[in-house]
């Protein structure tokens, strides 16, 4: 049996249209990674990616990507989604995500699609999503407490395993809720 190898991409949606110089009660980190309001569904994400791949790579590119492109998981609350794509062509999809500059809905907000993890199995990607959510909570707490640069923030941006080990991870009870909502998979 020939194995069809895939790659799973964990993608964050980072919002960039924040008014500058505003110091509100919400830390900046949470403003950049805010939940997605509006009609974002897996089908709209797929449509947006397919049209961008067609623009960048033409008929040949969109044909190679079409079979195996799928949104495996979408969470609008955390603005995160997991894509599945065949191993040979995942870079086309990654490049298309880089060129997309707004949400693929009508009058979509300007945003950045940031690929934070590529893995061959979905389990590792899920673990990474949970890890990043924990780090985001810790970094936001640090920012609210007024620390200029925190270990959690560095760990979030650099993805070091060492810096994560140094953190005393608070035992939180809401990490299970992360993966339950918005679970999308092929029927």
């Amino acid at each position: 049996m020939v194995r069809l190898k895939d790659r799973y991409l964990l993608v964050n949606i980072v919002y960039t249209d924040l008014p500058t110089g505003q110091k509100g009660p919400v830390p900046d980190l949470l403003l950049y990674n805010q939940p997605t309001i509006g009609e974002l569904r897996p089908q709209t994400i797929l449509k947006g990616i397919r049209s961008q791949v067609n623009a960048l790579f033409g008929d040949c590119g969109s044909g190679s990507v079409e079979r195996s492109l799928q949104v495996k998981y979408l969470s609008t609350a955390t603005s995160t989604f997991i894509l599945r794509i065949s191993r040979a062509h995942y870079r086309l999809v990654w490049a298309a995500l880089t060129f997309m500059d707004r949400l693929p809905v009508k009058d979509g907000r300007p945003c950045v699609f940031r690929v934070v993890r590529v893995s061959g199995t979905i389990r590792k990607v899920e673990e990474e999503a949970i890890r990043r959510a924990k780090l985001l909570v810790l970094a936001a707490k640090d920012e609210m407490a007024g620390k200029a640069s925190s270990d959690a923030l560095n760990a979030l941006f650099r993805g070091d395993k060492d810096s994560v080990r140094n953190l005393a991870l608070v035992n939180d009870d809401h990490d299970d809720a992360e993966m339950d909502e918005g679970e999308v998979s092929d029927g």
């Binding site: 067609n54 960048l56 790579f57 033409g58 008929d59 040949c60 590119g61």
Partner: protein, 141 residues
């Protein structure tokens, strides 16, 4: 009866040294590939010019390979009559040939109904071999 002893080879006239190889090189991956394209249109009196050919190739590449194809580095070497010779980077030759072959042609001349279609006569890594093939059709009928 004594047989003559065999003549000593070292006393014979010195032989000329065999040819020696001074240097040897193998060209594995030439940087460019070449293609020979030809116009296929119903009207026999069609002349190709460089801009028309360039525009056609860009449209064909854009449809097949998108923006990355339209930005492919194509050099127009010679455009003569209904033929044109182009040069592309070697790694792009497969995509280029496929794009030109797959393109269904387009209309030129703004308002006139003249269809323009080009086909690939030959392509390869070596321009000399490609040019040499030009008279092949006439030789073999």
């Amino acid at each position: 009866m004594d047989l003559d002893p065999p003549t000593n080879p070292s006393s014979s006239t010195p032989k000329t040294p065999k040819s020696q190889t001074l240097s040897q090189t193998t060209i594995r991956s030439p940087p460019f590939s070449y293609a020979h394209l030809s116009l296929v249109t119903p009207s026999s009196s069609s002349q190709l010019d460089t801009l028309t050919a360039r525009h056609y190739l860009t449209a064909a590449l854009r449809q097949f390979l998108g923006d990355t194809g339209a930005s492919m580095a194509i050099d127009m070497l010679l455009v003569k009559g209904a033929e044109c010779w182009v040069r592309v980077p070697r790694e792009d030759l497969a995509g280029f040939a496929a794009a030109v072959t797959a393109y269904p042609g387009h209309k030129v001349g703004g308002g006139e109904e003249e269809e323009m279609l080009m086909r690939v006569v030959g392509c390869g890594d070596w321009l000399g071999a490609l040019v040499g093939r030009e008279g092949e059709g006439e030789v073999w009928g």
